[in-house]
């Protein structure tokens, strides 16, 4: 990689970090940069079978609807699932998203999830064009036009998710830069 390419990648990397941390701030700063970063992200994630693209307006609308659902507003199942799919497909999940998903699952199975893989058909008339991972263990089959077709809840995968997330923040270190200074800490440089 030449020097210019290296600098270019570094600039993109720094902007992507900012975009992923505070997308709305970046959007307010420059709509053009925001949309370019969205394209970069799409390119980097287009391999995923779960990729379900939505515009920023659709994402904002979905976020608002999900917030209202968490606060008690009733939503049609298909509508809620489409909103969840928009957010998950663009990898913009947040706490409210997870609360809404948990609430939806609790409404679906008030006595708790059975210990097996569940596949529920939502729309018998259509077949899915893609699969959106709402979260590990919960997949949604959806048409290109945004019509949810089925939902699959896999107990084993949900258990795996628990394992994968069980060590987050398990200890603290007196050096807040230990992660990036690990070479120096381990090898002295």
């Amino acid at each position: 990689m030449g020097t210019n390419a290296g600098i270019k990648e570094k600039v993109i990397s720094l902007l992507m970090e900012k975009y992923e941390k505070e997308p709305l701030k970046v959007k307010r700063f420059s709509e053009q940069i925001f949309h370019l970063l969205e394209q970069v992200k799409h390119k980097r994630t287009k391999f995923s079978s779960s990729f379900f693209t939505s515009s920023e307006t659709q994402i904002e609308k979905a976020s608002e609807a999900i917030r209202e659902y968490v606060n008690g507003k009733r939503l049609r199942k298909k509508e809620l699932l489409l909103h969840l799919a928009r957010i998950a497909g663009m990898e913009r999940r947040n706490q409210c998203f997870y609360e809404a998903l948990d609430k939806f699952i609790k409404d679906l199975y008030p006595k708790g999830l059975p210990n097996k893989k569940i596949h529920r058909t939502i729309n018998k008339q259509s077949s899915e064009d893609m699969v959106v991972y709402l979260k590990k263990g919960i997949k949604l089959g959806i048409t290109r036009g945004g019509d949810p077709v089925w939902i699959e809840i896999d107990h084993t995968e949900l258990k795996k998710r628990e394992g994968l997330t069980s060590m987050i923040g398990i200890f603290s270190d007196s050096d807040p830069e230990a992660s990036i200074k690990h070479d120096k800490l381990l090898y002295g440089q």
Partner: protein
């Protein structure tokens, strides 16, 4: 499903609640878990990460981390011919990186995978192959 290789900086930032990258690391890591990526570590990152936790946060946490990594991640083991290739690759490159970092860059490029790291030099070396 796309493979993502985690490096020591990313894993440590996920584990350590006081790390300055913890919040970002947690958010990105949960995205990786929930979006269906295959999570991989190399055997050298495994060794380096466990050593770092062992040294910084104690033996118990070191053992817990080792067990967690083995139970939850796919482990990439290098053959002898690959180690030779990694050494050649390290020799060709001018970046001031450790052998573990070069090995990670090598495997990410070879597998056409992505890397999850906070190491600036590694990010520069891998360019668009960063999650």
């Amino acid at each position: 499903m796309k493979q993502v290789f985690l490096d020591t900086s990313a894993i440590y930032a996920v584990l350590s609640s006081s790390d300055k990258f913890h919040e970002v690391a947690e958010r990105k890591y949960i995205t990786l878990v929930d979006s269906g990526y295959e999570l991989w570590i190399t055997e050298w990152v495994f060794e380096e990460c466990v050593s770092l936790v062992w040294y910084r946060a104690g033996k118990d946490n070191g053992i817990k981390t080792a067990q967690w990594l083995l139970e939850n991640f796919d482990l990439y083991r290098f053959d002898n011919w690959e180690i030779k290739k990694i050494l050649d690759f390290s020799k060709e490159r001018k970046e001031n990186l450790s052998l573990v970092d070069f090995s990670l860059a090598y495997v990410v490029k070879k597998e056409d995978a992505l890397a999850f790291t906070f190491d600036t030099k590694l990010k520069e070396l891998l360019g668009a192959l960063i999650f």
